[in-house]
Protein backbone atom coordinates (compact mmCIF):
# COMPACT_ATOMS: atom_id res chain seq x y z
CA UNK A 1 0.00 0.00 0.00
CA UNK A 2 2.72 2.40 1.00
CA UNK A 3 4.60 1.60 -2.16
CA UNK A 4 1.56 2.43 -4.24
CA UNK A 5 1.05 5.72 -2.44
CA UNK A 6 4.68 6.56 -2.91
CA UNK A 7 4.42 5.75 -6.59
CA UNK A 8 1.41 8.00 -6.98
CA UNK A 9 3.17 10.76 -5.09
CA UNK A 10 6.12 10.37 -7.44
CA UNK A 11 3.86 10.61 -10.46
CA UNK A 12 2.29 13.77 -9.07
CA UNK A 13 5.67 15.31 -8.47
CA UNK A 14 6.86 14.40 -11.97
CA UNK A 15 3.72 15.93 -13.39
CA UNK A 16 4.06 19.05 -11.32
CA UNK A 17 7.77 19.72 -11.71
CA UNK A 18 8.51 18.38 -15.18
CA UNK A 19 5.44 17.82 -17.34
CA UNK A 20 3.49 20.91 -16.41
CA UNK A 21 6.40 23.34 -16.80
CA UNK A 22 7.32 21.62 -20.06
CA UNK A 23 3.85 21.94 -21.50
CA UNK A 24 3.62 25.56 -20.40
CA UNK A 25 7.01 26.16 -21.95
CA UNK A 26 5.87 24.60 -25.20
CA UNK A 27 2.79 26.82 -25.17
CA UNK A 28 4.81 29.96 -24.72
CA UNK A 29 7.52 28.71 -27.05
CA UNK A 30 5.02 28.74 -29.89
CA UNK A 31 4.06 32.26 -28.86
CA UNK A 32 7.71 33.31 -28.68
CA UNK A 33 8.32 31.74 -32.07
CA UNK A 34 5.63 33.81 -33.69
CA UNK A 35 6.78 36.96 -31.94
CA UNK A 36 10.48 36.49 -32.66
CA UNK A 37 10.04 35.48 -36.29
CA UNK A 38 7.56 38.32 -36.67
CA UNK A 39 10.04 40.80 -35.26
CA UNK A 40 12.76 39.50 -37.56
CA UNK A 41 10.46 40.08 -40.52
CA UNK A 42 9.55 43.58 -39.31
CA UNK A 43 6.13 42.47 -38.14
CA UNK A 44 4.79 42.37 -34.60
CA UNK A 45 3.29 38.91 -34.36
CA UNK A 46 0.15 37.98 -32.44
CA UNK A 47 -1.19 40.84 -30.35
CA UNK A 48 -4.96 40.43 -30.19
CA UNK A 49 -5.74 37.74 -27.64
CA UNK A 50 -5.11 39.24 -24.23
CA UNK A 51 -2.46 41.85 -23.44
CA UNK A 52 0.32 41.64 -26.05
CA UNK A 53 -1.36 38.51 -27.34
CA UNK A 54 -0.20 36.55 -24.31
CA UNK A 55 -3.27 34.30 -24.30
CA UNK A 56 -2.75 33.31 -27.92
CA UNK A 57 -1.34 29.84 -27.09
CA UNK A 58 -4.45 29.00 -25.08
CA UNK A 59 -6.71 30.19 -27.85
CA UNK A 60 -4.77 27.94 -30.23
CA UNK A 61 -4.98 24.96 -27.90
CA UNK A 62 -8.73 25.39 -27.44
CA UNK A 63 -9.17 25.70 -31.17
CA UNK A 64 -7.16 22.54 -31.84
CA UNK A 65 -8.91 20.51 -29.17
CA UNK A 66 -12.37 21.51 -30.35
CA UNK A 67 -11.64 20.41 -33.88
CA UNK A 68 -12.66 17.05 -35.20
CA UNK A 69 -10.11 14.26 -35.32
CA UNK A 70 -10.34 12.99 -38.85
CA UNK A 71 -9.55 9.36 -39.52
CA UNK A 72 -8.75 8.80 -43.19
CA UNK A 73 -10.76 5.93 -44.60
CA UNK A 74 -7.78 3.97 -45.84
CA UNK A 75 -5.65 4.63 -42.78
CA UNK A 76 -4.55 2.03 -40.31
CA UNK A 77 -6.61 3.17 -37.35
CA UNK A 78 -4.51 1.75 -34.58
CA UNK A 79 -1.15 2.94 -35.86
CA UNK A 80 -2.63 6.23 -36.96
CA UNK A 81 -3.71 7.06 -33.43
CA UNK A 82 -0.70 5.63 -31.65
CA UNK A 83 1.83 7.47 -33.81
CA UNK A 84 1.45 10.89 -32.14
CA UNK A 85 1.88 9.26 -28.76
CA UNK A 86 5.03 7.51 -29.95
CA UNK A 87 6.30 10.87 -31.12
CA UNK A 88 5.71 12.69 -27.87
CA UNK A 89 6.60 10.07 -25.27
CA UNK A 90 10.36 10.09 -25.97
CA UNK A 91 10.41 13.89 -25.98
CA UNK A 92 9.16 13.86 -22.41
CA UNK A 93 10.87 10.65 -21.37
CA UNK A 94 14.37 11.97 -21.90
CA UNK A 95 13.78 14.56 -19.20
CA UNK A 96 14.11 11.76 -16.66
CA UNK A 97 17.88 11.95 -16.92
CA UNK A 98 18.28 15.65 -17.69
CA UNK A 99 19.72 17.42 -14.65
CA UNK A 100 18.29 20.93 -14.38
CA UNK A 101 20.36 21.79 -11.33
CA UNK A 102 22.86 20.23 -8.99
CA UNK A 103 21.17 16.96 -8.03
CA UNK A 104 17.87 18.06 -9.54
CA UNK A 105 17.31 15.02 -11.70
CA UNK A 106 14.76 12.21 -11.57
CA UNK A 107 17.06 9.36 -12.46
CA UNK A 108 20.81 9.73 -11.99
CA UNK A 109 21.67 7.10 -14.59
CA UNK A 110 25.27 6.13 -15.13
CA UNK A 111 24.58 5.53 -18.79
CA UNK A 112 22.61 8.76 -19.16
CA UNK A 113 24.01 9.67 -22.55
CA UNK A 114 23.06 6.29 -23.95
CA UNK A 115 19.55 6.68 -22.59
CA UNK A 116 19.32 10.11 -24.20
CA UNK A 117 20.51 8.83 -27.57
CA UNK A 118 18.28 5.78 -27.46
CA UNK A 119 15.12 7.66 -26.55
CA UNK A 120 15.64 10.63 -28.80
CA UNK A 121 15.96 8.32 -31.79
CA UNK A 122 12.69 6.67 -30.79
CA UNK A 123 10.85 9.85 -31.73
CA UNK A 124 11.32 9.12 -35.42
CA UNK A 125 9.18 5.99 -35.10
CA UNK A 126 6.21 8.19 -34.39
CA UNK A 127 6.91 10.10 -37.57
CA UNK A 128 7.46 7.03 -39.73
CA UNK A 129 4.34 5.33 -38.40
CA UNK A 130 2.29 8.48 -38.86
CA UNK A 131 3.42 8.74 -42.45
CA UNK A 132 2.87 5.09 -43.16
CA UNK A 133 -0.45 4.73 -41.34
CA UNK A 134 -2.09 7.70 -43.06
CA UNK A 135 -1.85 5.80 -46.36
CA UNK A 136 -1.20 8.92 -48.38
CA UNK A 137 1.70 9.55 -50.72
CA UNK A 138 2.64 12.91 -49.25
CA UNK A 139 2.69 11.54 -45.74
CA UNK A 140 4.74 8.57 -46.82
CA UNK A 141 7.26 10.76 -48.63
CA UNK A 142 7.55 12.98 -45.57
CA UNK A 143 8.09 9.99 -43.34
CA UNK A 144 10.73 8.53 -45.65
CA UNK A 145 12.62 11.78 -45.79
CA UNK A 146 12.41 12.13 -42.07
CA UNK A 147 13.67 8.63 -41.45
CA UNK A 148 16.64 9.00 -43.79
CA UNK A 149 17.50 12.38 -42.35
CA UNK A 150 17.25 11.40 -38.72
CA UNK A 151 19.27 8.25 -39.25
CA UNK A 152 22.11 10.14 -40.94
CA UNK A 153 22.22 12.96 -38.44
CA UNK A 154 21.98 10.64 -35.49
CA UNK A 155 25.47 9.45 -36.38
CA UNK A 156 26.92 12.94 -36.40
CA UNK A 157 25.05 13.67 -33.19
CA UNK A 158 26.42 10.57 -31.51
CA UNK A 159 29.95 11.21 -32.72
CA UNK A 160 29.93 14.75 -31.40
CA UNK A 161 28.79 13.40 -28.04
CA UNK A 162 31.72 10.98 -28.12
CA UNK A 163 33.98 14.00 -27.90
CA UNK A 164 32.15 15.09 -24.77
CA UNK A 165 32.49 11.64 -23.30
CA UNK A 166 36.20 11.54 -24.03
CA UNK A 167 36.74 14.83 -22.24
CA UNK A 168 34.39 14.12 -19.35
CA UNK A 169 35.26 10.47 -18.93
CA UNK A 170 31.70 9.65 -18.00
CA UNK A 171 28.30 8.86 -19.44
CA UNK A 172 26.47 10.37 -16.49
CA UNK A 173 24.95 13.74 -17.34
CA UNK A 174 25.60 15.17 -13.91
CA UNK A 175 29.20 14.04 -14.04
CA UNK A 176 29.55 15.62 -17.48
CA UNK A 177 28.31 18.95 -16.15
CA UNK A 178 30.50 18.78 -13.08
CA UNK A 179 33.51 18.00 -15.27
CA UNK A 180 33.02 21.37 -16.95
CA UNK A 181 33.22 23.44 -13.78
CA UNK A 182 35.54 26.42 -13.67
CA UNK A 183 33.78 29.08 -15.68
CA UNK A 184 32.86 29.95 -19.23
CA UNK A 185 36.20 28.98 -20.75
CA UNK A 186 36.22 25.56 -19.13
CA UNK A 187 33.00 24.50 -20.77
CA UNK A 188 33.31 22.03 -23.58
CA UNK A 189 32.20 24.36 -26.34
CA UNK A 190 35.72 25.71 -26.56
CA UNK A 191 37.81 22.54 -26.94
CA UNK A 192 34.99 20.96 -28.91
CA UNK A 193 33.89 23.99 -30.93
CA UNK A 194 33.31 22.11 -34.22
CA UNK A 195 31.52 19.38 -32.35
CA UNK A 196 29.33 21.88 -30.57
CA UNK A 197 28.31 23.44 -33.87
CA UNK A 198 27.71 20.07 -35.43
CA UNK A 199 25.73 18.93 -32.42
CA UNK A 200 23.50 21.96 -32.61
CA UNK A 201 23.00 21.70 -36.36
CA UNK A 202 22.28 18.00 -36.07
CA UNK A 203 19.82 18.85 -33.32
CA UNK A 204 18.04 21.06 -35.83
CA UNK A 205 17.95 18.15 -38.24
CA UNK A 206 16.84 15.71 -35.56
CA UNK A 207 13.92 17.88 -34.56
CA UNK A 208 12.98 18.43 -38.21
CA UNK A 209 13.26 22.15 -37.83
CA UNK A 210 14.04 24.67 -40.53
CA UNK A 211 16.34 24.65 -42.44
CA UNK A 212 16.09 20.85 -42.22
CA UNK A 213 12.30 20.59 -42.15
CA UNK A 214 12.38 18.14 -45.00
CA UNK A 215 9.81 15.96 -43.30
CA UNK A 216 7.27 18.78 -43.42
CA UNK A 217 8.37 20.56 -46.57
CA UNK A 218 5.20 22.64 -46.93
CA UNK A 219 6.12 23.76 -50.41
CA UNK A 220 6.78 20.28 -51.81
CA UNK A 221 4.83 17.71 -49.85
CA UNK A 222 2.21 19.93 -48.18
CA UNK A 223 2.89 19.05 -44.55
CA UNK A 224 4.64 15.75 -44.86
CA UNK A 225 3.94 13.09 -42.30
CA UNK A 226 1.14 14.91 -40.47
CA UNK A 227 -0.81 16.00 -43.52
CA UNK A 228 -3.76 13.78 -42.55
CA UNK A 229 -3.83 14.72 -38.89
CA UNK A 230 -6.28 17.20 -37.49
CA UNK A 231 -7.41 18.54 -34.16
CA UNK A 232 -6.05 16.96 -31.02
CA UNK A 233 -3.89 14.36 -32.77
CA UNK A 234 -2.19 17.11 -34.73
CA UNK A 235 -1.76 19.08 -31.53
CA UNK A 236 0.20 16.18 -30.08
CA UNK A 237 2.62 16.22 -33.01
CA UNK A 238 2.97 19.92 -32.59
CA UNK A 239 3.67 19.48 -28.91
CA UNK A 240 6.23 16.78 -29.67
CA UNK A 241 8.12 18.98 -32.11
CA UNK A 242 8.41 21.84 -29.66
CA UNK A 243 9.14 19.57 -26.71
CA UNK A 244 11.96 18.08 -28.78
CA UNK A 245 13.34 21.53 -29.50
CA UNK A 246 13.33 22.37 -25.81
CA UNK A 247 14.97 19.05 -25.07
CA UNK A 248 17.70 19.58 -27.64
CA UNK A 249 18.37 23.06 -26.26
CA UNK A 250 18.68 21.58 -22.78
CA UNK A 251 21.06 18.89 -24.02
CA UNK A 252 23.22 21.45 -25.82
CA UNK A 253 23.39 23.46 -22.62
CA UNK A 254 24.38 20.40 -20.61
CA UNK A 255 26.90 18.85 -22.97
CA UNK A 256 28.66 21.97 -24.18
CA UNK A 257 27.67 24.89 -21.99
CA UNK A 258 28.06 23.56 -18.50
CA UNK A 259 24.42 22.94 -17.62
CA UNK A 260 23.58 24.77 -14.43
CA UNK A 261 27.13 26.07 -13.88
CA UNK A 262 27.64 29.79 -13.71
CA UNK A 263 29.71 31.27 -16.55
CA UNK A 264 31.55 33.49 -14.04
CA UNK A 265 32.56 30.77 -11.60
CA UNK A 266 36.25 31.53 -11.68
CA UNK A 267 35.94 35.33 -11.73
CA UNK A 268 37.13 36.20 -8.25
CA UNK A 269 36.65 39.95 -8.68
CA UNK A 270 32.88 39.52 -8.81
CA UNK A 271 32.99 38.78 -5.10
CA UNK A 272 30.24 36.76 -3.51
CA UNK A 273 27.49 37.80 -5.89
CA UNK A 274 24.80 35.35 -6.99
CA UNK A 275 26.22 35.60 -10.48
CA UNK A 276 29.01 33.28 -9.46
CA UNK A 277 26.74 30.71 -7.91
CA UNK A 278 25.70 27.78 -10.00
CA UNK A 279 21.97 27.49 -9.97
CA UNK A 280 18.97 26.41 -11.98
CA UNK A 281 18.78 30.01 -13.11
CA UNK A 282 21.85 29.59 -15.30
CA UNK A 283 20.45 26.41 -16.74
CA UNK A 284 17.25 28.19 -17.69
CA UNK A 285 19.17 31.12 -19.14
CA UNK A 286 21.18 28.79 -21.37
CA UNK A 287 18.05 26.87 -22.27
CA UNK A 288 16.29 30.03 -23.36
CA UNK A 289 19.35 31.13 -25.30
CA UNK A 290 19.45 27.94 -27.35
CA UNK A 291 15.70 27.91 -27.76
CA UNK A 292 16.01 31.40 -29.18
CA UNK A 293 18.67 30.16 -31.59
CA UNK A 294 16.23 27.61 -32.98
CA UNK A 295 13.83 30.43 -33.82
CA UNK A 296 16.55 32.70 -35.09
CA UNK A 297 17.80 30.05 -37.48
CA UNK A 298 14.30 29.31 -38.67
CA UNK A 299 13.73 32.99 -39.42
CA UNK A 300 16.98 33.22 -41.38
CA UNK A 301 17.58 30.20 -43.57
CA UNK A 302 15.55 28.68 -46.37
CA UNK A 303 15.04 24.93 -46.51
CA UNK A 304 17.89 22.75 -47.75
CA UNK A 305 17.50 20.68 -50.84
CA UNK A 306 17.12 17.05 -49.93
CA UNK A 307 20.33 15.77 -51.49
CA UNK A 308 22.24 18.64 -49.89
CA UNK A 309 20.99 17.59 -46.49
CA UNK A 310 22.35 14.12 -47.06
CA UNK A 311 25.62 15.46 -48.40
CA UNK A 312 26.04 17.73 -45.39
CA UNK A 313 25.35 14.91 -42.97
CA UNK A 314 27.48 12.19 -44.49
CA UNK A 315 30.26 14.04 -46.28
CA UNK A 316 30.84 16.98 -43.96
CA UNK A 317 29.63 16.38 -40.44
CA UNK A 318 30.64 12.79 -39.93
CA UNK A 319 34.25 13.24 -41.19
CA UNK A 320 34.69 16.41 -39.14
CA UNK A 321 33.43 14.79 -35.97
CA UNK A 322 35.66 11.76 -36.55
CA UNK A 323 38.72 13.95 -36.95
CA UNK A 324 37.85 16.09 -33.98
CA UNK A 325 37.38 13.00 -31.87
CA UNK A 326 41.09 12.33 -32.38
CA UNK A 327 41.85 15.96 -31.53
CA UNK A 328 39.81 15.64 -28.34
CA UNK A 329 41.69 12.49 -27.43
CA UNK A 330 44.96 14.34 -28.01
CA UNK A 331 43.74 17.16 -25.77
CA UNK A 332 43.23 14.71 -22.98
CA UNK A 333 46.45 12.81 -23.73
CA UNK A 334 48.54 15.98 -23.58
CA UNK A 335 46.74 17.29 -20.55
CA UNK A 336 45.43 20.42 -22.30
CA UNK A 337 41.98 19.53 -21.00
CA UNK A 338 42.05 17.65 -17.73
CA UNK A 339 39.79 14.68 -18.00
CA UNK A 340 36.76 14.76 -15.76
CA UNK A 341 37.76 17.94 -13.94
Amino acid sequence: MDAILEFIWLLIRIGLFTLLPLILMVAYYTYAERKVIGAMQSRIGPNRVGPLGLFQPFADVIKLLLKEIILPKEANRYLFLIAPILAIAPAFGVWAVVPVGDGLVWADLNAGVLYVLALSSMGVYGIILAGWASNSKYALLGAMRSAAQVVSYEIALGFSLLGVMILAGSLNLQAIVNAQSGGMLDWYWLPLLPMFLIFFISALAETNRAPFDMAEGESEIVAGFHVDYAGASFAVFFLAEYANMILMSALTAIFFFGGWLSPFEGWAFLGDSWLRDSSIFWFLAKLVFFMFNFLWIRATFPRYRYDQVMRLGWKVFIPITMVWMLVAALFVFNGIVVRGA
Binding site: V36, A39, M40, Q41, S42, R43, I44, L197, W296, I297, A299, T300, F301
Partner: protein, 162 residues
Protein backbone atom coordinates in the same frame (compact mmCIF):
# COMPACT_ATOMS: atom_id res chain seq x y z
CA UNK B 1 42.88 29.20 -54.94
CA UNK B 2 39.35 30.46 -55.25
CA UNK B 3 38.15 26.97 -54.59
CA UNK B 4 40.12 26.80 -51.36
CA UNK B 5 38.77 30.17 -50.22
CA UNK B 6 35.26 29.02 -50.98
CA UNK B 7 35.89 25.84 -49.10
CA UNK B 8 36.98 27.65 -45.98
CA UNK B 9 34.16 30.14 -46.29
CA UNK B 10 31.57 27.41 -46.25
CA UNK B 11 33.38 25.48 -43.54
CA UNK B 12 33.48 28.50 -41.23
CA UNK B 13 29.88 29.28 -42.13
CA UNK B 14 30.75 32.93 -42.73
CA UNK B 15 27.82 33.55 -45.01
CA UNK B 16 25.45 31.86 -42.61
CA UNK B 17 26.55 34.15 -39.80
CA UNK B 18 26.12 37.13 -42.09
CA UNK B 19 22.55 36.01 -42.67
CA UNK B 20 21.98 35.61 -38.96
CA UNK B 21 23.28 39.10 -38.30
CA UNK B 22 20.81 40.53 -40.81
CA UNK B 23 17.84 38.92 -39.12
CA UNK B 24 18.93 39.90 -35.62
CA UNK B 25 19.34 43.50 -36.74
CA UNK B 26 15.85 43.48 -38.16
CA UNK B 27 14.51 42.19 -34.89
CA UNK B 28 15.23 45.54 -33.26
CA UNK B 29 14.16 47.74 -36.12
CA UNK B 30 10.85 49.58 -35.87
CA UNK B 31 7.94 47.50 -37.09
CA UNK B 32 5.88 48.45 -40.10
CA UNK B 33 2.68 46.68 -39.14
CA UNK B 34 -0.56 48.60 -39.69
CA UNK B 35 -3.15 47.79 -37.04
CA UNK B 36 -5.69 47.09 -39.69
CA UNK B 37 -9.22 47.65 -38.45
CA UNK B 38 -8.14 50.60 -36.33
CA UNK B 39 -5.60 51.97 -38.78
CA UNK B 40 -5.92 52.01 -42.54
CA UNK B 41 -3.50 52.95 -45.23
CA UNK B 42 -4.72 55.66 -47.63
CA UNK B 43 -6.49 54.45 -50.77
CA UNK B 44 -6.04 55.76 -54.29
CA UNK B 45 -9.06 57.49 -55.77
CA UNK B 46 -8.91 54.86 -58.50
CA UNK B 47 -9.30 52.05 -55.98
CA UNK B 48 -11.70 49.40 -57.26
CA UNK B 49 -13.80 47.92 -54.49
CA UNK B 50 -17.33 46.60 -54.25
CA UNK B 51 -19.55 47.56 -57.24
CA UNK B 52 -22.57 49.86 -56.81
CA UNK B 53 -25.32 51.43 -58.93
CA UNK B 54 -25.67 55.21 -58.82
CA UNK B 55 -28.70 57.47 -59.02
CA UNK B 56 -29.20 60.95 -60.36
CA UNK B 57 -29.61 63.68 -57.76
CA UNK B 58 -33.40 63.57 -58.23
CA UNK B 59 -33.43 59.96 -57.08
CA UNK B 60 -33.93 58.41 -60.50
CA UNK B 61 -31.70 55.40 -61.11
CA UNK B 62 -29.15 56.03 -63.85
CA UNK B 63 -29.09 52.61 -65.42
CA UNK B 64 -30.90 52.47 -68.76
CA UNK B 65 -30.59 48.73 -69.22
CA UNK B 66 -28.28 48.92 -72.25
CA UNK B 67 -26.48 45.75 -71.12
CA UNK B 68 -23.09 47.07 -72.24
CA UNK B 69 -21.66 46.16 -68.87
CA UNK B 70 -23.06 42.67 -69.10
CA UNK B 71 -21.46 42.27 -72.50
CA UNK B 72 -18.09 43.59 -71.50
CA UNK B 73 -17.72 41.84 -68.19
CA UNK B 74 -14.83 39.38 -68.67
CA UNK B 75 -15.95 37.27 -65.72
CA UNK B 76 -19.61 37.08 -66.75
CA UNK B 77 -20.48 38.32 -63.30
CA UNK B 78 -23.37 40.55 -64.35
CA UNK B 79 -26.85 39.36 -65.33
CA UNK B 80 -29.44 41.85 -66.53
CA UNK B 81 -33.10 41.69 -67.56
CA UNK B 82 -34.96 44.77 -68.72
CA UNK B 83 -38.50 45.85 -69.45
CA UNK B 84 -40.39 48.96 -70.46
CA UNK B 85 -41.45 50.94 -67.43
CA UNK B 86 -44.88 52.61 -67.31
CA UNK B 87 -43.38 55.96 -68.38
CA UNK B 88 -42.02 54.35 -71.53
CA UNK B 89 -38.35 54.26 -70.54
CA UNK B 90 -36.28 51.09 -70.52
CA UNK B 91 -35.29 49.94 -67.02
CA UNK B 92 -33.75 46.82 -65.62
CA UNK B 93 -35.98 44.39 -63.75
CA UNK B 94 -33.04 42.25 -62.75
CA UNK B 95 -29.53 43.47 -62.14
CA UNK B 96 -27.25 41.08 -60.33
CA UNK B 97 -23.51 40.96 -59.76
CA UNK B 98 -21.94 37.81 -58.38
CA UNK B 99 -19.09 38.95 -56.17
CA UNK B 100 -17.48 35.53 -56.37
CA UNK B 101 -17.15 35.90 -60.14
CA UNK B 102 -16.34 39.59 -60.26
CA UNK B 103 -12.64 40.28 -60.62
CA UNK B 104 -12.97 44.01 -59.90
CA UNK B 105 -11.51 44.94 -63.28
CA UNK B 106 -13.67 48.03 -63.65
CA UNK B 107 -14.59 47.32 -67.30
CA UNK B 108 -18.29 47.68 -66.46
CA UNK B 109 -17.65 51.18 -65.17
CA UNK B 110 -15.67 52.08 -68.30
CA UNK B 111 -18.39 50.78 -70.59
CA UNK B 112 -21.38 52.39 -68.89
CA UNK B 113 -22.70 55.33 -70.97
CA UNK B 114 -24.50 56.93 -68.00
CA UNK B 115 -21.98 56.30 -65.21
CA UNK B 116 -24.46 54.04 -63.50
CA UNK B 117 -22.38 51.05 -62.48
CA UNK B 118 -19.26 52.10 -60.60
CA UNK B 119 -16.70 50.47 -58.39
CA UNK B 120 -16.59 52.12 -54.97
CA UNK B 121 -13.48 52.33 -52.81
CA UNK B 122 -15.14 50.11 -50.20
CA UNK B 123 -13.48 46.72 -49.83
CA UNK B 124 -13.89 45.72 -46.18
CA UNK B 125 -17.01 43.60 -46.55
CA UNK B 126 -17.72 40.02 -45.72
CA UNK B 127 -20.58 37.57 -46.10
CA UNK B 128 -21.69 34.85 -43.77
CA UNK B 129 -23.44 32.69 -46.33
CA UNK B 130 -22.14 31.85 -49.80
CA UNK B 131 -25.57 32.75 -51.18
CA UNK B 132 -25.01 36.34 -50.13
CA UNK B 133 -22.34 36.69 -52.80
CA UNK B 134 -24.95 37.74 -55.39
CA UNK B 135 -25.84 41.40 -55.05
CA UNK B 136 -29.27 42.24 -56.45
CA UNK B 137 -30.43 45.56 -57.81
CA UNK B 138 -31.74 46.86 -54.49
CA UNK B 139 -28.50 46.08 -52.70
CA UNK B 140 -26.43 47.67 -55.46
CA UNK B 141 -28.55 50.81 -55.39
CA UNK B 142 -28.30 50.93 -51.60
CA UNK B 143 -24.53 50.66 -51.86
CA UNK B 144 -24.58 53.48 -54.36
CA UNK B 145 -26.63 55.65 -51.99
CA UNK B 146 -24.35 54.82 -49.12
CA UNK B 147 -21.11 55.69 -50.88
CA UNK B 148 -22.38 58.43 -53.23
CA UNK B 149 -20.17 61.04 -51.57
CA UNK B 150 -16.92 59.15 -51.88
CA UNK B 151 -17.87 57.94 -55.38
CA UNK B 152 -18.44 61.43 -56.74
CA UNK B 153 -15.44 62.84 -54.93
CA UNK B 154 -13.12 60.17 -56.38
CA UNK B 155 -14.56 60.66 -59.87
CA UNK B 156 -14.04 64.41 -59.63
CA UNK B 157 -10.44 64.07 -58.48
CA UNK B 158 -9.69 61.70 -61.31
CA UNK B 159 -11.61 63.58 -64.00
CA UNK B 160 -8.65 65.65 -65.17
CA UNK B 161 -6.66 62.54 -66.05
CA UNK B 162 -9.31 60.72 -68.05
Amino acid sequence: MNKIIRYFKSLLMIELFQGLSVTIKHMFKPKVTVFYPEEKIPKSNRFRGIPALRRYTNGEERCIGCKLCEAVCPALAISIDSEMRSDGSRRTTLYEIDLFKCIFCGFCEESCPVDSIVLTDFADYHMEDPKESVLNKQQLLALGDRFEQSISKNRQQDAAYR
